[in-house]
Symmetry: C2
């Protein structure tokens, strides 16, 4: 039936399938068969590659996180203006909408982190990396005299990431009056106060949006 594939290729496929399955059915309610279905295989085949489903789920979460972070890094890679850089970073930290697959997965992870130390560690790492990212931007801007920081860069950076996270949850939970645009404004309100910069950057023309797997 299904064409045979190389070990590494199939594992990659399975990780993607697991991501999709988890977003649809939940990190710890997803069934082996649901992952198999997403991959277009049978449960036996999945088990052949991952004798313990939990290993696969962990790898999938890891990959999802990595992808999310890498995407953000890539988005600001070419930008030199600190103001523009900061604004784009803020925008890239929020889900595109309530269906955003990457962020939904992260929310899932957040819920499980209270019970699962490995997931907790994963999220902690992501948080810290994002803080560093902001910190770099802030200090660069300060060095160039564009920002006049009203607190330590770490404090600001931590708060910025915290705001992103929290609004991510709200958006995923479909808050009726708190959409993406509103969340951006709320975070910008803080960022303006604390950088002493109006942060006037026109909205980008909508480019290719981030992958949206949860087509349910």
């Amino acid at each position: 039936m299904t064409t045979r594939k190389s070990r590494t290729q199939r594992r990659q496929d399975l990780i993607e399938a697991a991501r999709r399955a988890m977003i649809q059915h939940g990190t710890d309610t997803v069934l082996l068969n649901q992952v198999a279905e997403q991959a277009g295989l049978t449960s036996g085949a999945v088990l052949y590659h991952y004798p313990d489903l939990r290993d696969l789920l962990l790898e999938a979460h890891h990959a999802g996180m990595e992808r999310f972070y890498e995407l953000r890094v890539r988005r600001i890679a070419g930008i030199s203006d600190p103001v523009r850089k900061l604004v784009v970073t803020i925008r890239s930290g929020l889900p595109t909408d309530a269906e955003d697959a990457d962020v939904r997965l992260l929310c899932e992870l957040g819920g499980a982190a209270g019970r699962n130390r490995v997931y907790a560690a994963l999220l902690t790492t992501l948080y810290d990396r994002q803080v560093s990212m902001y910190q770099t931007i802030l200090e660069l801007g300060a060095a160039q005299g564009v920002f006049r920081l009203a607190a330590e860069s770490q404090t600001i950076a931590r708060n910025l990431v915290a705001l992103e996270d929290a609004y991510g949850y709200r958006i995923i939970a479909r808050h009726p009056t708190l959409d993406v645009a509103e969340a951006v404004e709320l975070i910008l309100s803080y960022a303006r106060q604390v950088t002493g910069n109006p942060l006037d950057v026109p909205a980008e023309p909508a480019k290719a949006p981030r992958a949206r797997r949860a087509s349910a």
Copy 2:
């Protein structure tokens, strides 16, 4: 074996048992037997009172949320000084530590909200109520001339609640360098900037801490 109890009393017990069980095993991986065990009953008895386990879980989440909110309201009930009020409110929005039962349950809820509309609605309501709470405090302080608000009260209130939420998650996930005291400082940093008030309030002497059920 177990002593017989009145309908309402037993239902109350079951809600508490469900709370404990969910914190230990996860909102949507908790087993009927685990709830029964927490209640010191058999699965049959649980089913007698709640033919559908999901109803019980929902009530338990609802009760947990209500308790969390009510506790916060009660904490600031007697305080008239807006500065003190604001600071106490900020402190009461964070978990006492990584084991804090109430907040762990809320995090669970957050993770499930992406898939479960009812849970999402529950959290949205809680968020909005907390925003109102802050908004009242902020406007009262502004009216008294103690605060000089640097943005709309709703904007500030939304950001304050968002920060609390996010740091709650970090603390529950045991971030190694972001403990409760640090989180309070981070939020206060924002609150100071935006109220134009130094918010100098000595730490309360540790009173009876919030219930900590997750003794696992």
